[in-house]
């Protein structure tokens, strides 16, 4: 009797599962054909040379040539360094700015939502449009930024996008600016989750605002910070649109990054196999960074 009942339950379960899978089948097919299949194909391309104009007939076996070529690629090193610098500066910058703004705006009684929307706008705007506007702002001769700098007495303002020393900094400022909205919104939500009595208790004990910020706010926001750090690192590693619109990797390759290097190889030199190899290198790097973060996340969690 009991067995029969469990068997029936099991059958019901199966049926329900099948129904569930049928429901997600349309999406699953999409994921399979447009994500999984191209992913596997790009892995296959790592060992091939592909003249894609000839269709699948243009595939020729290349062995490890594409991987060996990476060692001789003088732009790869430059791109990796630029990527590392870009991520290492942009992510903390956006996080710190976002946190500070969140704390300030959170105190406001009025205009809170409006300010949040204003700061969030750049994040949801088209990055290409934003980049075009900023390249006008950055114009070294007649741009508003340099006009302002000259007005306040700086005689030789930086050349921004036209200068190999400043171009990467200019791009970091722009990208950090777009991400501030994102970090701000997440931090504001995080702040709301901190119980007020913690601050009350702290002020009774005589802790001032600064101490409260570092001893209560920052630690309590750790999970939020963790989420932001992971998502931002992943997306900053793939920075492309801004570079493509504003500098094309120049001047003197000072803004050459992995994603743009891959684009050049694939769509200017038509080296699909090598581009796929570089893409997998980028993937592995992001994967390792994320893995390390997950590990450390577990250690963090034990504190709570």
């Amino acid at each position: 009797m009991l067995n029969k009942a469990t068997a029936r339950l099991f059958r019901e379960d199966m049926k329900e599962n099948i129904a569930g899978y049928l429901f997600i089948l349309p999406n699953l097919l999409g994921v399979f054909f447009f994500i999984v299949l191209p992913l596997l194909f790009s892995l296959y391309l790592v060992f091939m040379d592909w003249d894609y104009l000839k269709g699948f007939g243009g595939l020729t076996f290349a062995g490890l040539d594409n991987i060996i070529r990476m060692a001789k690629d003088e732009y790869l090193g430059r791109a990796l360094i630029n990527n590392a610098v870009f991520t290492a500066v942009t992510v903390p910058l956006a996080m710190v700015m976002g946190l500070m703004l969140a704390v300030v705006i959170n105190r406001f009684v009025y205009l809170k939502n409006m300010l949040r929307t204003i700061f969030f706008l750049p994040y949801v705007s088209s990055l290409v449009a934003v980049s075009i506007v900023w390249s006008v702002l950055y114009n070294s001769r007649s741009g508003p930024i340099n006009s302002f700098l000259r007005d306040i007495g700086i005689e030789n303002p930086p050349g921004w996008l036209a200068s190999p020393q400043w171009a990467l900094i200019a791009i970091i400022i722009l990208v950090a600016w777009t991400y501030i909205g994102y970090t701000l919104v997440l931090y504001m939500a995080g702040l709301q989750g901190i119980p007020k009595d913690l601050y009350e208790a702290a002020s009774i004990d005589g802790a001032n605002r600064t101490t409260q910020f570092f001893k209560i706010t920052v630690p309590m926001l750790k999970p939020t910070s963790f989420l932001i750090a992971i998502t931002l690192i992943i997306s900053t590693f793939q920075v492309f649109a801004v570079i493509n619109v504003m500098t094309q990797g120049g001047p003197l390759n000072s803004t050459m990054v992995m994603a743009y290097h891959i684009y050049l190889q694939a769509f200017q030199y038509y080296k699909m196999g090598y581009a796929a190899t570089l893409s997998w290198l980028l993937f592995c790097m992001i994967f390792i960074v994320t893995l390390v973060q997950w590990r450390s996340q577990k250690k963090w969690q034990q504190h709570f």
């Binding site: 019901e12 894609y52 001769r141 996008l161 094309q248 120049g250 001047p251």
Partner: protein, 453 residues
């Protein structure tokens, strides 16, 4: 519980079947499922298309600058062959779009225009271009009389494209600035003289010259002048970047920057400056341009100005040279997979003999040898006589030029990039000249060897 289960399954299956049927209907156009109404509709349209051949032509010129009129002219006189023009942007992503359209089996173009031999050669080697010799014979198109056999590069003795446009490169000068400097309009000159004139035309905050970096740089231009045929490659098939012409080009361009006759290299790139806007907005008094800029020259609304533009021919290596760095372009090909090749050829033959006259006002000179020069200039100038020094334009257009020819395109895009990258280092004082010359040659040779392996 049971009932709802069934219902869910049903919905799932239904959802799936709609997707599958939608897929199949788009791929072959004939579905047996679905309502009767839609089926009869499809049937009628199919019957109608039996008589009318529909051709798709892909080109890079905006529809309003000529192609729209061309297609309208043709369609009005040829009800049996209706041509549809699809515009693609002639940049990396636009060309990739055309490539994928050519690979696809549905909606593929019948006729397509490639800009420059590099893109064309790639497509030809991939077998995308149909051999045109037989088709040319059938339609009775006379290549020699219209274009000239020598102006078409054959591959294995066969024709895979026909050029529709003759682009002429020239120097555009602000006439008022020229008069103010007390200089004559040059008619036979060298690049050394260009650099000297650029110095004289530089006044206050207006530069004397603008040459678009990294697209039209002097190392590349002088190399073309010294070796019009396959300028990137030497006799052994390696790179010609070590040649004296490249070095001279680098030095001359550097001189323009050092003497402040031209806006600095990185500024011109990062601000995305274009020669025509530099000239017409009074930022520079002389630019290297060509017939493709004609539509901007005539554009008073966007570029209001109070000076005439005067035209001088391409500066040369030595006096008396007749090389023009532009040349035959708008390479028209027929898709090798097209089902209507003969109709496509009929259109191309009409286009090359008379159809492309409608492209002249947009700045495209037909390759047709029989075109009347006076009428051409008239169409070219249009109503913009107060903006153009017509005499000098006529003069520049009537010179019998030697045009560059490009048969090889081994690693061409990479070589171009290498030349501009190494030039950039020299122009920005990041690398001395001798080292630049060494590296540019070494890197280019390496790229060629890697490709031909």
């Amino acid at each position: 519980m049971r009932k709802s289960m069934l219902l869910m399954m049903l919905v799932g299956v239904l959802a799936l079947s709609t997707i599958l049927s939608a897929c199949s209907s788009s791929s072959n156009g004939k579905t047996n499922t679905g309502g009767n109404g839609s089926e009869t509709k499809e049937q009628t349209t199919e019957n109608a298309t039996d008589k009318v051949v529909k051709l798709k032509m892909w080109g890079g010129v905006p529809e309003e600058s000529g192609p729209g009129e061309v297609v309208a002219n043709w369609n009005a006189n040829n009800p049996g062959i209706q041509v549809e023009y699809v515009r693609y942007v002639n940049d990396d992503s636009g060309n990739t779009k055309l490539d994928t359209a050519l690979i696809s089996n549905t909606d593929a173009p019948d006729i397509f225009i490639s800009y420059g031999e590099t893109y064309f050669n790639r497509r030809m080697h991939a077998g995308m271009t149909a051999s045109m010799d037989e088709l040319i014979q059938k339609t009775g198109f006379d290549v020699e009389a219209v274009i000239g056999e020598d102006n078409v590069i054959k591959h294995d003795g066969q024709i895979f494209y026909l050029p529709a446009m003759k682009q002429i490169s020239m120097v555009l000068i602000n006439q008022s600035a020229l008069t103010a400097a007390g200089e004559q309009l040059p008619s036979d000159w060298t690049w050394d003289e260009y650099v000297a004139l650029a110095g004289k035309l530089t006044t206050g905050n207006v530069f004397g010259s603008f040459i678009e970096a990294p697209g039209e740089i002097l190392p590349k231009i002088l190399l073309t002048l010294s070796q019009p045929q396959d300028s990137y490659y030497d006799a052994e098939g390696l790179s010609s970047f070590g040649s004296a012409a490249v070095q001279k080009g680098m030095q001359l361009q550097k001189q323009l920057y050092d003497e402040k006759s031209m806006i600095s290299w990185p500024e011109s790139i990062s601000n995305n400056l274009k020669p025509y806007s530099e000239l017409f907005t009074g930022q520079a008094n002389m630019i290297l341009g060509g017939t493709h800029l004609m539509r901007y020259v005539k554009n008073k609304e966007e570029f209001p100005r109070d000076f005439k533009v005067a035209f001088a021919p391409n500066p040369q290596m030595e006096k008396g040279g007749k090389v023009n760095i532009a040349g035959f372009n708008d390479l028209m090909s027929i898709n090798s997979k097209s089902a209507n090749k003969e109709e496509a050829m009929a259109f191309i033959s009409w286009y090359l003999t008379e159809g492309n006259t409608a492209m002249i006002p947009g700045g495209r000179i037909p390759t047709n040898k029989q075109a009347d020069m006076d009428k051409l200039v008239e169409l070219f100038v249009g109503e913009a006589e107060d903006l153009i020094d017509v005499e000098s334009l006529k003069q520049v257009l009537s010179i019998d030029y030697v045009f560059p020819k490009q048969v090889k395109s081994v690693a061409y895009a990479e070589l171009t990039k290498i030349l501009s990258e190494e030039s950039e280092k020299y122009m920005m004082n990041a690398q001395p000249l001798d080292q630049t010359m060494e590296r540019v040659k070494a890197r280019a040779d390496q790229a060629i060897q890697a490709e031909s392996k």
